[in-house]
């Protein structure tokens, strides 16, 4: 049981404030991290993972900053759009490198390939020839490598076809049922509405809502309406 806690997190890039004074807590289960493109979701997740230095505030996992974790990959698995693969390496080589760098047994490589549905034959092909969906599965395999309690997945549905999406939902459900803490970011509420228990909604770098998905909408108000009201619509309505 590992909680993720974000406190007063702020990031300015030059004159642009990408994230402003953001605070929320994430408990075990699946939490949707939602907001339109450019809302600051990715920047927040990168600060959580120690890739981007916050201007102010903290983001901790089980009470510790990512950089202070002794075996970070065994606590947190991450899928980010910014994690690339060398096109000349095979999926297996990529995962062996990750495992070796993270002090994870190489036997985990076959296990995670199996978990994301990449066959042994596919795993020995160069990533250059991979479809977007296969890359996404490889990214998920890398995230699962350390059998982590916390998963941070930035737009994991990207590149997946409908069957892939259904598979991803099942996988996330299974992982959450094991007691893991899963953060799934998306700019499309419908994509995650079937999977998530809790939602954190951000817009323009600031918190709009944090709580159970069920409490997001009221009578005569669909989830989508509520989501739009908390994001775009707010900008358009006169103050």
């Amino acid at each position: 049981m590992t909680d993720v806690s974000v406190n007063g997190l702020t990031k300015r890039f030059g004159g642009v404030t990408a994230v402003r004074d953001l605070s929320f807590d994430v408990t075990p289960g699946v939490t949707g991290f939602l907001g339109p493109n450019g809302a600051g979701k990715t920047t927040t997740l990168r600060m959580l993972l120690g890739l981007v230095r916050p201007t102010a505030g903290t983001a901790t996992i089980g009470g510790r900053r990512y950089a202070d974790l002794t075996h970070p990959r065994r606590v947190v698995g991450a899928l980010l759009d910014s994690i690339g693969f060398h096109p000349g390496r095979t999926a297996r080589q990529h995962l062996l490198i990750s495992a070796s760098a993270s002090g994870i047994a190489t036997s985990r490589v076959a296990a995670v390939l199996d978990a994301v549905g990449l066959t042994s034959e596919q795993a020995d092909r160069r990533v250059r020839g991979y479809s977007l969906g296969m890359r996404q599965r490889l990214g998920l395999a890398a995230a699962l490598l350390g059998d982590p309690e916390v998963l941070v997945l930035d737009e994991p549905g990207n590149g997946l076809d409908p069957a892939g999406m259904a598979w991803l939902r099942r996988l996330l459900r299974e992982l959450a049922d094991d007691g893991r803490t899963i953060i799934v970011s998306s700019h499309v509420l419908a994509e995650v509405a079937q999977t998530v228990d809790q939602v954190v909604i951000v817009n323009e770098g600031a918190l709009r809502y944090a709580g159970p998905l069920a409490s997001l909408s009221g009578p005569g108000d669909t989830l989508e309406d509520a989501f739009l009201r908390l994001t775009d619509a707010l900008e358009r309505s006169p103050k």
Partner: protein, 238 residues
């Protein structure tokens, strides 16, 4: 464990083997060219000149170092490296250790190539027991090691791979010559000039002795790596 991962990275990309292969072609062609044009192939000057081609392989060691870091930014595998090892200085130092080791290998393989190519031209006249010959070979090896380390620094400072390779090659082909003109006598302390001095070839005037050249190049490498670590620690990875 970071070092083991870096070693695996190095040997699972083709560019490593391509650079090593092309370097041997350069040595074979360079030594052969020198032998064809030389009336006194078996002379010690010609033989030492042939061995000096090992030092030129340092350009490939430099590119190897640049690729080890800037290549990771290009393919965005650097994110994975920092997630595995949030202490980024450790990542840079592991890259340094592995690339310097590769620089030794590049120098040693080039040494064998230079010796074999020279022997192919002059047979048993090869002065394999000449200290001067080995002095040049050792100098060439040192040049490879120093440039491999400098390459890691350049790649970490200029994380855009194309820009980093262009900057490294432009420095060697053009910029150092111009800067040397401006500096006058002090130009002999610039990196490529120091590498050449490491060859310890006879008949060159106004070049520092091998040991001084080695120390000065080590200082360059240390400065580049220190700057690389300092900027890498601060940089946001987006």
């Amino acid at each position: 464990m970071t070092v083991a991962a870096e070693f695996r990275k190095l040997r699972t990309v083709r560019s490593t083997w391509l650079l090593l292969g092309i370097a041997q072609l350069v040595v074979v062609a360079g030594v052969s060219g020198l032998m064809i044009r030389n009336d006194d192939r078996t002379g010690s000057t010609a033989q030492q000149g042939a061995m000096a081609h090992v030092g030129l392989v340092a350009i490939f060691s430099l590119l190897l170092g640049v690729l080890a870091v800037a290549g990771e930014y290009r393919h965005r595998t650097i994110t994975d490296a920092y997630l595995a090892t949030p202490r980024r200085d450790r990542v840079v130092l592991a890259k340094l250790a592995v690339t310097v080791g590769a620089g030794v290998v590049f120098g040693l393989v080039a040494t064998v190539t230079a010796l074999v190519t020279t022997a192919a031209w002059i047979g048993s006249a090869l002065s394999i027991s000449s200290w001067d010959l080995w002095r040049t070979l050792l100098g060439g090896l040192a040049w490879n090691v120093a440039f491999a380390a400098i390459g890691v620094g350049v790649g970490a400072l200029i994380t855009n791979l194309i820009a980093a390779v262009a900057a490294a090659l432009a420095w060697l082909a053009l910029v150092e010559g111009i800067v040397a003109q401006l500096l006058g006598g002090a130009g002999k302390w610039l990196p490529f000039a120091l590498g050449s001095a490491l060859d310890g070839l006879p008949g060159r005037t106004n070049v520092p002795p091998q040991w001084q050249a080695g120390l000065a190049l080590t200082a360059y490498a240390a400065a580049f790596v220190a700057a690389a670590v300092a900027t890498t620690l601060r940089r946001d990875v987006t």
